[in-house]
C-alpha cells in the first residue's frame, strides 16, 4: 500500500548549455526534489530524454531520473528496453520509466509517422509494456503481438530495480487510465489530450474538479483494491506566487474556460502564496490522492521551501 507521502520532481525540456544542465540536476537533488524528468517531443522540447537522463544521473548521486513521458511510437520497445535498463544499471537503480501512447499531432506530422487512432496507439503501448517487462525479467523472452514480435531474446542488461523500474503512465481518458491501473506504479492524472494539442480548449476543459473526480473514478474502477498501491502524480505547468490569488483565479478561469475555484484546484497549476500553495497540495492529496507533484525546473528554487516542508509528510 502506498503511503501517499508528498514528494516532488522537476521537469526540464531544454537548457542553454552543458553546465546549466549539470547545475539544474545538482540543484534539484540538493533542494530535496526526488526526480528529474525530461519530456519527449520533436517540437519545442529540445532535449532528447534518454541521453539527457543518463547525463543527469551521472552528475548526481541520489536523484531519480525519468522520461515524462516517452512517446511509445517513437522507438521500438526492444531498443527502449535496453536503453532504459542501461540507465537503471549505470545509475544504481534510479530510473522511473514514464511511457505513453503518443498524442502530439505535430510530432507525428513533422517526423512522417502515422498517427493511428487512440485505440490502436493504446493497444500498441500495452504490447510495448509487455515487451519491456518481459525483457527486464530473467531469461529469454518471446512475444507474438499484433504490432511487435520478439523471438527468444534475453534482454541485456537487466535493470537493477526488480522486477523492473517503476512505470509512470499518465492519461486523461478511461482507456489509458485503465492501462495505467494495470501496469504502472505511478499514475499521472492529466488533461485529456485526444485533440492532439495540449493547448486546446478540449484539453483545458477536462481540468475541472468534476472531470478530475471522474478520472480518479475511472482509475479506481480499473484498479480495484490495487488502487491503494498506486502513487498518483500530477504535472504542473504553471506556477505563480501571488498574494492576489482571486485575481489570478479569474484570469485562469477565463483562459481555461472553467470556474475560478476549479482553475485553482486544477492539478496543472500552483497559484497563491506559500501557505495557500501548501493548502492546495494538501487538498489535492485529500480529494484525489495526488502526492507526487512535478514542477517546471524554473520554479524549483521558489518552491523549495514548500518542498522542504511537505516532502516525506
Amino acid at each position: 500500500m502506498h503511503d501517499r507521502k508528498f514528494r516532488f520532481g522537476v521537469i526540464v525540456p531544454k537548457v542553454g548549455s552543458a553546465t546549466e544542465f549539470t547545475e539544474i540536476a545538482r540543484q534539484a537533488e540538493a533542494l530535496g526534489y526526488t526526480t528529474l524528468y525530461v519530456p519527449d517531443h520533436f517540437v519545442d522540447h529540445p532535449l532528447a530524454p534518454i541521453p539527457a537522463l543518463a547525463a543527469a544521473a551521472a552528475v548526481t548521486t541520489t536523484l531519480r531520473v525519468g522520461p515524462l513521458v516517452l512517446g511509445n511510437d517513437y522507438k521500438h520497445p526492444v531498443v527502449l528496453a535496453r536503453e532504459a535498463a542501461t540507465i537503471d544499471l549505470l545509475s544504481d537503480g534510479r530510473l522511473e520509466l514514464g511511457i505513453g501512447a503518443g498524442w502530439m499531432t505535430a510530432d507525428y506530422e513533422k517526423a512522417g509517422m502515422v498517427l493511428d487512432r487512440p485505440g490502436v496507439r493504446i493497444a500498441r503501448l500495452a504490447e510495448a509494456i509487455a515487451i519491456l517487462k518481459g525483457l527486464f525479467a530473467d531469461g529469454p523472452f518471446s512475444f507474438e503481438g499484433e504490432h511487435y514480435q520478439v523471438t527468444e531474446l534475453d534482454g541485456q542488461p537487466k535493470p537493477v530495480q526488480r522486477p523492473h523500474p517503476p512505470f509512470v503512465i499518465g492519461g486523461g481518458g478511461p482507456k489509458v487510465l485503465a492501462l495505467a491501473a494495470r501496469e504502472a506504479q505511478i499514475v499521472g492524472i492529466n488533461a485529456n489530450l485526444r485533440s492532439g494539442d495540449g493547448n486546446s480548449s478540449d484539453a483545458a476543459s477536462s481540468l475541472t474538479s468534476a472531470r478530475t473526480d471522474e478520472k480518479l473514478q475511472w482509475l479506481r474502477d480499473a484498479a480495484g483494491s490495487h488502487f491503494d498501491d498506486l502513487e498518483i502524480q500530477t504535472l504542473v505547468g504553471f506556477v505563480h506566487f501571488t498574494d492576489d490569488r482571486a485575481g489570478m483565479a479569474d484570469a485562469m478561469a477565463a483562459s481555461f474556460g472553467v470556474p475560478p475555484a476549479d482553475a485553482l484546484l486544477a492539478p496543472v497549476t500552483l497559484v497563491g502564496n506559500e501557505s495557500q500553495i501548501v493548502e492546495l497540495l494538501e487538498t489535492r492529496r485529500e480529494r484525489w490522492h495526488m502526492s507526487y507533484t512535478v514542477v517546471p525546473h524554473e520554479s524549483m528554487a521558489q518552491l523549495a521551501p514548500i518542498v522542504a516542508r511537505l516532502s516525506g509528510t
Partner: protein, 310 residues
C-alpha cells in the same frame, strides 16, 4: 593532406567493469574516442545512454557508436539524441552509423531484414534526414523510407558544420556512399553474409583493402583528402612472434599466415613493429584513425603514446 593519428577503443561495457573508471582510463591513456557497438546479442549496454554517461564522467574524451544500426531507430530521433549529447558535452560526439547487417539482431527484434541494397538506400535517406535536422532552420524531405515536413529539429549540435559522421563498410555501395557523405570512414571486412565468416576475413586482404580505398575515393571525389580513414583492428595482438601467431590463427580464417599478417583487419607484432606497420599503412592506405577492442587497449597504450597527434 596527411591526417594525424588518433586512436579509439570499442567497448561493450561488460559485467564486472566499472563504466566510469573505464571511460576515465581511456581518456588518461591518450585515446581520442570511446566507441560502443550497437547489437542486441552478446553485447550489454545500450550505446546511447552509455556514451552520454561516459562523456559526463570525462572532460576531453570523444564518444560515439561504432556503429549505430540505422534500422533500429528513426533517424530524426537518432539526430536529436546525438545533438543532445553534443550539447551536453560541448561537442565531443561522433555519429557512427551503418546500414545494419547482423541478422540475429533483426530476428530478435522482429524487424524485416531487407536486401543490402534496400538497407543501404535507407541509410542514404537517413543521412539526408540527419543532416537536415542538424542544419539551421526547418527542412523537409520526401523519401521512399522517410518523410519529414517543415521540421526545425532541436537542439542543433555544438560542432559545426555538424557532428562528424562515421560510416563503415566493406562493399562498394556502402563505401561509395560513405565517400560522398561521411567525415570518417571505417574500412571493414565485407559483412554481406550477415555474420563474421571466412568470406569476411578474405575481404580484408591487402589487395581488397586497396580496392576499398578506391571505392571511397570514387564516392568522395574532391573531398577525399578531408576524410579521415579508420580501421577497427579486430585481430590485434602484441607478440614478439607475429609469424607464429599468424600461423596459429590462419586456418580459422581460411588464409595463409602471410595473408593474415597483411590483412587490413589484423595488427600483430611487438610495439615497435606495430608502430612501423601503422606508419606504413598510413603511407599506402591513408589510414590514421585506429580502433582497438576493450580487451587490449591497456597493452596497446604505448603505441598511442608514440603516435597520437603525429
Amino acid at each position: 593532406m596527411t591526417h594525424k593519428f588518433r586512436f579509439g577503443v570499442q567497448v561493450s561495457g561488460l559485467p564486472g567493469e566499472n563504466w566510469r573508471d573505464q571511460a576515465r582510463q581511456l581518456e588518461d591513456l591518450g585515446y581520442s574516442t570511446l566507441y560502443m557497438p550497437d547489437h542486441f546479442i552478446d553485447t550489454r549496454l545500450a550505446p546511447m545512454p552509455a556514451i552520454a554517461i561516459a562523456a559526463a564522467h570525462t572532460t576531453t574524451l570523444r564518444v560515439g557508436a561504432l556503429v549505430f544500426d540505422n534500422d533500429y531507430k528513426h533517424p530524426a530521433i537518432l539526430a536529436k539524441e546525438m545533438a543532445t549529447i553534443d550539447e551536453l558535452t560541448d561537442g565531443r560526439t561522433e555519429l557512427g552509423i551503418g546500414a545494419g547487417w547482423m541478422k540475429t539482431d533483426y530476428e530478435a527484434l522482429g524487424l524485416p531484414y531487407d536486401s543490402a541494397g534496400v538497407r543501404i538506400a535507407r541509410l542514404d535517406e537517413a543521412l539526408q534526414v540527419i543532416k537536415g535536422c542538424w542544419a539551421d532552420g526547418p527542412f523537409g524531405f520526401e523519401g521512399t523510407h522517410y518523410q519529414i515536413t517543415d521540421y526545425d529539429a532541436q537542439p542543433k549540435p555544438v560542432q559545426k558544420p555538424r557532428i562528424p559522421i562515421l560510416i563503415g563498410g566493406g562493399g562498394p555501395k556502402v563505401l561509395r556512399l560513405a565517400g560522398r557523405e561521411a567525415d570518417i570512414i571505417g574500412i571493414n571486412p565485407n559483412l554481406r553474409a550477415g555474420a563474421v565468416t571466412a568470406d569476411a576475413a578474405a575481404s580484408a586482404s591487402q589487395a581488397e583493402t586497396i580496392k576499398k580505398v578506391g571505392w571511397i575515393r570514387e564516392g568522395a571525389g574532391d573531398r577525399f583528402d578531408q576524410i579521415e580513414l579508420q580501421i577497427r583492428y579486430f585481430l590485434c595482438a602484441i607478440t614478439d612472434d607475429a609469424m607464429g601467431f599468424a600461423t596459429a590463427v590462419a586456418p580459422g580464417f581460411d588464409s595463409t599466415p602471410e595473408e593474415v599478417l597483411g590483412s587490413g583487419a589484423a595488427l600483430l607484432g611487438t610495439i615497435p613493429e606495430m608502430i612501423d606497420q601503422l606508419l606504413a599503412r598510413r603511407e599506402s592506405w591513408g589510414v590514421t584513425n585506429i580502433v582497438v577492442g576493450g580487451d587490449n587497449f591497456v597493452d596497446f597504450a604505448p603505441v598511442v603514446a608514440k603516435l597520437a597527434g603525429t
